[in-house]
């Protein structure tokens, strides 16, 4: 489903990770780990196609990835149902019933998003992934501000998604109950100072060193 090889990514013109490679098959989950600032978010954004890689390749079909960043993408003045329906329609119009149920949002359906608690808003943001109908979900710190019960809901949703032939990549610090997920520690992929050639077109600072 996703084949990454020799990937180097840059943040602010500086190469932060290089030589990243892995493959992800349907039904698999990958957890990215590493200290703050190692480049987890940058890697996810590169995989999602939001920024071009410095080197290497990301092989992935069209319209496969759904990416949820730090922010929830929730409009405060719209209700929970309106928010979710909007994303469902943008991504080709699936129903929102399953997502509402999976993240226990039914009781909040008609509440404006600005009146939700941080955790409830987060659940809404995660439910967004379910209505996209995309097979590969990518999360950046999905469990921030979630309580234990909500983390459980999230795990279940991901597990159901994997069982249905989907896949997931998430950057997180806490231990989720996804025992069969692979873990990729990004620390070894930091470029060694002075010693890295990133191959093709020098981007950012490279040309000036």
């Amino acid at each position: 489903m996703l084949n990454v090889s020799g990937l180097a990514v840059a943040r602010g013109g500086v190469c932060v990770l290089s030589g990243v490679g892995f493959t992800l098959a349907p039904g698999q989950a990958l957890i990215l780990r590493g200290p703050n600032g190692v480049g987890k978010t940058t890697l996810l954004r590169t995989l999602a196609g939001l920024q071009p890689p410095l080197a290497g390749s990301v092989a992935c079909g069209e319209d496969v990835i759904a990416y949820a960043g730090h922010a929830d993408g929730v409009k405060p003045t719209l209700t929970v149902t309106e928010n979710l329906t909007f994303w469902a329609q943008v991504f080709g119009g699936g129903g929102i019933g399953a997502a509402m149920a999976a993240f226990d949002l039914d009781g909040l359906a008609d509440r404006a998003a600005q009146n939700l608690s941080a955790g409830q808003k987060r659940r809404l943001g995660l439910a967004r992934m379910m209505v996209t109908g995309r097979p590969l979900w990518m999360f950046d710190e999905p469990t921030v501000s979630l309580d234990a019960a909500s983390v459980g809901l999230f795990e279940t949703a991901v597990r159901v998604h994997l069982a249905g032939g989907g896949a997931a990549i998430m950057a997180t610090h806490i231990d989720l109950g996804l025992t069969d997920a692979r873990v990729l520690d990004l620390s070894p992929f930091r470029p060694q100072p002075g010693g890295v050639r990133t191959g093709n077109a020098p981007t950012g600072d490279e040309a000036f060193l």
Binding site: A48, Q51, Y67, A71, G73, K75, F91, G125
Partner: protein, 218 residues
């Protein structure tokens, strides 16, 4: 696409969406003009088309940064950029939503304010027509400016600086239509040129704006 249009309209018109602010600003500008240039109705009716156009343009400018900034801050833009809808289409739809919630109400309000400035009677028709055409160009050009400045803190003032020179042709032709209309002169040429600018902008600017957005999302 319709979903995006509906959502943007809903966000703009609900409480805190700033829907009425542009209209109120337009009203204030038009009220202040006679207070500053004096109550002479002959002078006012001569400058009325230009003042109405300028007021509408400034009111439109006020709300431009909302086109993308809110979606950028709350992460919606990331998800929109990876959605099946091409980003160019999303930009066009958002600019259209901006026009429906800003340009169109301003256009409809302009004749009412024209009364305050003694706009000559034949001018109303052409004022409406020119604003209807011209504000659409203002929205699309503004969307481009908003896309350029979306990632910047305090980008509002820079946005005005970038967009105002781009507004020059639209303003000139639009105000010319309204002025000639008010003076009973033929308006066909500037009207055609204004229509050309509006159509050209609507066709091409979404591409430039989408390119700028992609750069800003990196």
């Amino acid at each position: 696409m319709i979903a995006l249009l509906r959502r943007d309209m809903a966000v703009a018109t609900r409480a805190g969406g700033g829907f009425g602010l542009g209209l109120a600003f337009f009203l204030v500008v038009v009220v202040l003009v006679p207070l500053s240039v004096g109550p002479d109705t002959a002078v006012l009716s001569r400058i009325a088309p230009g003042i109405l156009w300028l007021g509408a343009l400034l009111a439109c400018l006020l709300s431009l940064d909302r086109i993308f900034a809110l979606d950028f801050e709350d992460g919606s833009l990331d998800l929109l950029a990876t959605a099946p809808l091409p980003l160019e289409g999303a930009v066009a739809v958002k600019a259209f939503a901006h026009w429906l919630t800003t340009g169109l109400p301003l256009t409809l309000m302009a004749p009412v304010l024209g009364v305050l400035l003694n706009l000559p009677v034949p001018g109303y028709r052409w004022l409406l027509a020119s604003l209807l055409l011209g504000t659409s160009a203002l929205s699309v050009i503004g969307a481009f400016g908003a896309a350029l400045t979306v990632g910047l803190r305090r980008g509002g003032l820079l946005l005005s600086l970038l967009v105002l020179p781009l507004y020059v042709p639209t303003l000139i032709f639009g105000a010319e239509v309204a002025r000639r209309g008010a003076e009973g002169m033929p308006v066909a040429t500037p009207l055609a040129l204004l229509a050309g600018i509006s159509l050209g902008c609507a066709a091409l600017m979404p591409f430039a704006a989408a390119a700028a957005l992609r750069v800003n999302l990196r």
